[in-house]
């Protein structure tokens, strides 16, 4: 009976001892993460106040950084975006440091891999950022041009352009991250091609009349239209 009891208690004891030995690491991890998040929050608040004091948003306006963000259809204040980036960067780093405090070989490898992977991640983030800017700029250019031409589907057109470019840049970012590159390329080809075919079909089905008028207009080649003949200048 005693042997049987030992058989049960021994593993529990072992687990307890392991946990006892491991708990300081766990506690250290949780402490590091909590302190990291608090520190990140503190840094965020300090930076927000600092940016306000030095009129960072006005400086960004003058330097054209706000215009660059607006090009990407990003409407938040530069100071808000900057502090958000700082906050999440600190949170991510503190989590990585926290995980390494567990001192588990697998996690240590993972953390090492994470830091080795950082250049790729940085490139991917850069691609996504540029993609965000480019897609925002082009979709807004299309929106304004379509609105001024009197097209009723202006927003749809702008959203379609943004979607296509977003898919393109996401695929590029995923390729940079080495996430199943073959699958990414295939998926991208299928999705991108699918979107283009869908747009072509929807235009073909819904816009037969419009297309006919456009072609007839071109054929007629006359400058006459219903715009009136106001001389603007």
């Amino acid at each position: 009976m005693e042997g049987f009891l030992n058989l049960i208690l021994e593993p529990i004891n072992e687990v307890y001892l392991k946990f006892k030995g491991f708990s300081p690491n766990l506690l250290a991890m949780l402490t590091i993460i909590i302190i990291g998040i608090c520190a990140a929050w503190l840094v965020k608040t300090v930076f927000l106040k600092l940016f306000k004091a030095i009129k960072f948003d006005s400086w960004c306006d003058r330097m054209g950084i706000t215009a660059l963000m607006r090009k990407g259809d990003m409407w938040a204040k530069p100071s808000d975006v900057s502090v958000a980036v700082i906050f999440w960067l600190l949170v991510t780093v503190s989590m990585m440091v926290g995980f390494s405090a567990l001192d588990i070989q697998a996690i240590n490898n993972l953390v090492n891999q994470f830091f080795l992977y950082l250049p790729n991640a940085f490139s991917a983030v850069l691609i996504l950022f540029i993609g965000y800017m480019v897609s925002g700029f082009l979709s807004r250019a299309a929106l304004i041009a379509a609105v001024n031409s009197g097209l009723s589907y202006a927003k749809l057109l702008a959203n379609a352009i943004r979607l296509l470019l977003t898919v393109l840049f996401f695929a590029m970012a995923l390729e940079q991250l080495n996430v199943a590159p073959n699958i990414v390329v295939s998926a991208f080809t299928i999705i991108f091609g699918g979107i283009v075919i869908a747009l072509a079909i929807s235009f073909g089905v819904a816009g037969i009349e419009t297309a006919r008028k456009m072609i007839e207009g071109k054929k007629a080649g006359s400058g006459k239209n219903d715009k009136g003949d106001v001389e603007h200048i």
Partner: protein, 403 residues
Amino acid sequence: MVEPANIVVGIPSYNNAKTIGHVVKAVDAGLAKYFPDKKAVIVNSDGGSKDRTPEVIKNTTIDHNALLIQHPLSMAHRITTPYHGVPGKGSAIRTIFQMAVDMGASACAIVDSDLRSITPEWIELLLSPVLKEGKDFVAPLYNRHKFDGTITNSIVYPVTRAFYGKRIRQPIGGEFGFSGNMAEFYLKQDVWGTDVARFGIDIWMTTEAIANDFRVCQAFLGAKIHDPKDPSSDLSEMLVQVISSLFDLTEKHSGKWKEVKGSIDVPTFGFRYHVGLEHVKVNVGRMLGIFRDSLDNLDKIWLEVIGAGDFGEVKTLGAVSDEEFRFPLKLWTKIIYDYAIAYHKKKLPPQHLIKSLIPLYLAKTASFVMEVADMEQEGAEAEIEKLCLEFEANKEHLISNWK
């Protein structure tokens, strides 16, 4: 080595073979009739026309006897030269400035090559204030149909007048007279890579003349009729080039215009008379349609540029029927000033910013067309005067937000 000349008349052109012959004849006759004792040169600055425009200029002849003109001491020479740099009217005019300076001309004039209503008297009216009255810059003054020149009437004239305090009615008219000193001043400015090299040249010339305290005046030329073209097709680019030049100048002369209050008349030469003008068709429904569609599509941009209060007013306008649609003058002035501020603060890329103004401009134009539909020319002019006074009264809004 170029030979010296007293007068240079520049004609920028691009594919104007149909009309340029008439323009050259009028210029030639004007020089022979009114300045027979001056050595004059007609300079055609061509942008690479493919319709034999330069040949038309060379081959155009004029019978001075038939026009009761005694032969001048020396006939006006004609020079056709291509221009370099950014393709556009501004680059063509820069070449004319260069030739005027090289020839040491004391008076110059520029006339458009697509004019149908130009007469020899235009040359006298553009040059005499310079040669006889010592003026540096002569702006044109025309009789135009009340629906014509809508960018001028609703934006360029009121803004230039409110900013710089001089009432030059056609700041972007296309025809100008100026002194040799003025040409030299223009030539020295480093603007030839900007929109000034294109449609922005007219507003730039006028504003620089006023803002730098040159002696400015205007000359009444009669009716302006030129080769018909489809204005709506290039409205977008035209508006971008003109308005971005206007706003760039606002930036450059911010120290000057902040001090200006009210406005004064400038000396006006020429005999004013009424002329019959061709009817102008306006599709108000289409303009308002574009404006209403834009309310949902451009809301984010407008909210950022003009603010929630004015955007609320604009949104309310969207619900008004075509017949009752009227764009409040105060709202329009605040919108234009807010766009100037947004341009100054680089809130959006310039092209996007100014193009996003087009639906609002169309709505304002439609409103003006309906307001003055039953009025004579004088009535329409009185409405424009009201708008100008509103711009002058609300200038504080711009000054207080310009940081």
